[in-house]
């Protein structure tokens, strides 16, 4: 449509452009600029060139943080997608009971990370926690879920899986609605059992959705912070210091804005990379959908 006055569209978009410019684009550029300075928030910033990047790479800190974040993300995505898909297929039925259980699984996704973190901190408590106690009661060995550096990151991943599986399930349930019932019924009449129907009809049609949920969850798990802050504060011995927590530590504990900005720049570059993968997976899925 033609605008009533030629300037109208720009005026209508102005508030949105201002907020996006001020709180999204400009901060991003500012982080890039600041990453070349050393600044402790108190004295004047001094130019240091690429020193921060060189230190981050040279000390191995960057690689360690990236790998930690990646292992956390891969575990989270693998299990939340698998469980989410299984639950969607199992709970895709009529009835109040099924609706209630679906709601229960999804509710964890909208409850605050603080509540979830504290709740599991209590359940996993080494002394009085219900999990360790139950395991001990039936004679099974228990682990230091949060104080063993080899275990803590995966404990956080498991809690995250508990929290976000409902998200994957809900998206898969929406995807399942798009699969024509007639197709499944025809296959059932031809004698295909449940498993075959899933493998030959549901799964191929759902694959683009799997790609979407997988990549989205990976991007989201790269942004993890709350659960780390509540449950482990990055420890023990840095074993749960993921990307955002590392940035937070640099600013608020070490007062190193420049170093934090350099980390932010690398972090954003990684997110862009992951988004490219997502778009690629998406396009692949769309192509597949056209082909079928």
């Amino acid at each position: 449509m033609r605008a009533a006055k030629p300037w109208h569209p720009y005026a209508l978009l102005l508030p949105t452009a201002l907020v996006l410019g001020l709180f999204f684009i400009y901060p991003l550029l500012l982080a890039g600029y600041r990453s070349f300075f050393a600044w402790d928030l108190l004295t004047e910033p001094t130019f240091v060139g690429v020193a921060h990047y060189r230190t981050l790479i040279g000390s191995g800190e960057l690689l360690a943080v990236a790998l930690r974040t990646l292992s956390y993300g891969v575990v989270v995505v693998t299990f939340s997608v698998t469980f989410g898909l299984a639950l969607a297929v199992a709970l895709n039925r009529q009835g109040a009971l099924y609706a209630f259980v679906r709601g229960a699984v999804f509710s964890a996704y909208i409850v605050s990370w603080v509540a979830v973190g504290l709740l599991w901190l209590w359940i996993l408590d080494g002394e009085a926690g219900v999990l360790s106690r139950s395991l001990r009661a039936i004679g099974l060995p228990t682990a230091d879920w949060l104080s063993d550096p080899d275990v803590a990151l995966y404990t956080l991943a498991a809690v995250t899986v508990w929290k976000i599986t409902g998200y994957a399930m809900v998206i898969f349930l929406a995807g399942l609605q798009d699969i024509p019932k007639s197709m499944l019924e025809a296959a059932a009449l031809d004698g295909a059992n449940r498993w075959r129907r899933f493998w030959h009809i549901t799964w191929p049609l759902l694959r683009p959705t799997v790609a979407f949920v997988g990549t989205t969850s990976l991007i989201l798990s790269f942004q993890a912070f709350d659960i780390v802050r509540v449950m482990t504060q990055g420890g023990p011995v840095k074993s749960t210091t993921v990307f955002v927590y590392a940035i937070y530590e640099q600013v608020f504990m070490n007062l190193r804005v420049g170093r934090a900005s350099a980390l932010t720049v690398v972090f954003f570059a990684l997110l862009v990379g992951l988004t490219m993968v997502q778009l690629w997976a998406w396009r692949l899925g769309a192509k597949q959908r056209v082909a079928t």
């Binding site: 605008a3 508030p15 996006l20 709180f23 199992a90 709601g103 603080v114 359940i123 508990w162 937070y248």
Partner: protein, 281 residues
């Protein structure tokens, strides 16, 4: 050969399997909630007692009383509700005109503007918090409601959703309103707003729930009780060294989660609409 008896047995087995899954799922997801509520109603001796009893001996509200004594719960809750409402409202107020321009009006740079909005989808708060914190400091905006609300005044996702909803509105409706002499703002808020109302409701709830529960941004932008929000207060219960007094922490947890779980129970469909819209977009 499969006799009728066998197949009835098989279907009974299938039903048993599906019931087992149902019970297991309910246990894994509801169990922790029940444990949270049960713990919040216990007394300290009951918590350290081994073996642990699944239920409290009586409805002890001591944990709740201690939460109210330790932190100004009402103020934190009001701060949280105000912040989440302000953000969700602002997002809708700004997304309507932007969505209208992007969906319905022809102008130079429309594609670029749309791409700009979409590209902001990949810039999360976790990327902007350091620079925004240093921007707001000199302006004296750290520790203010403005620092909590303004950065989220525009949701790129919300703008996109509203634009999609507007695309489905026939041009004739807008032309008719213009012939009646309606201004563009009247068209946006009075004519189109009610038409895309389901999208706006979904967006409002989605945004409200997210920001009510948010811990990250208020933690970075505030240190002052006057503007701090409930998730921070509940996290502080633990940090202040409650030790083994988990009933207090779980009572805080219940206070924090109950409003959002109740809201979810009432508006499940709308919230799910916004969540799945993201996937189908």
């Amino acid at each position: 050969m499969m006799g009728p008896g066998f197949s009835r047995g098989a279907s009974r087995l299938a039903r048993l399997a599906s019931w087992t899954v149902l019970v297991l799922v309910a246990l894994v997801w509801l169990g922790p909630y029940l444990w949270m509520v049960s713990t919040s109603l216990k007394t300290l001796p009951e918590i350290v007692a081994a073996p642990a009893y699944p239920l409290p001996s009586a409805l002890n509200l001591g944990g709740y009383r201690e939460v109210f004594e330790a932190v100004p719960v009402v103020r934190y809750l009001l701060n949280t509700l105000f912040m989440a409402t302000a953000i969700a409202t602002l997002q809708i107020v700004l997304a309507l005109p932007a969505g209208y321009a992007l969906a319905k009006l022809h102008f130079v740079g429309r594609r670029a503007a749309f791409v700009l909005v979409l590209s902001c989808l990949i810039i999360p708060a976790q990327v902007t918090f350091v620079p925004v914190f240093t921007m707001l400091g000199p302006l004296g905006l750290v520790n203010t409601m403005a620092a909590l609300v303004l950065p989220f005044g525009v949701s790129a996702f919300g703008t996109f959703l509203v634009r999609q909803a507007m695309l489905a509105v026939p041009d004739e409706i807008i032309e008719a309103a213009r012939l009646d002499g309606a201004s563009e703002l009247t068209i946006v808020y009075r004519v189109l707003g009610p038409i895309v109302q389901p999208t706006l409701a979904a967006l409002f709830l989605f945004s409200f729930v997210f920001h009510y529960s948010d811990y990250f941004w208020p933690l970075m932008m505030t240190t002052d009780d006057r503007v701090r929000t409930l998730p921070l207060a509940v996290a502080l219960l633990r940090e202040q060294g409650t030790g083994v007094r988990w009933h207090i922490v779980m009572a805080g947890n219940v206070i924090l989660s109950l409003p959002i779980l109740a809201l979810f129970a009432l508006t499940q469909r709308r919230i799910l609409r916004a969540v799945t819209a993201r996937a189908l977009a």
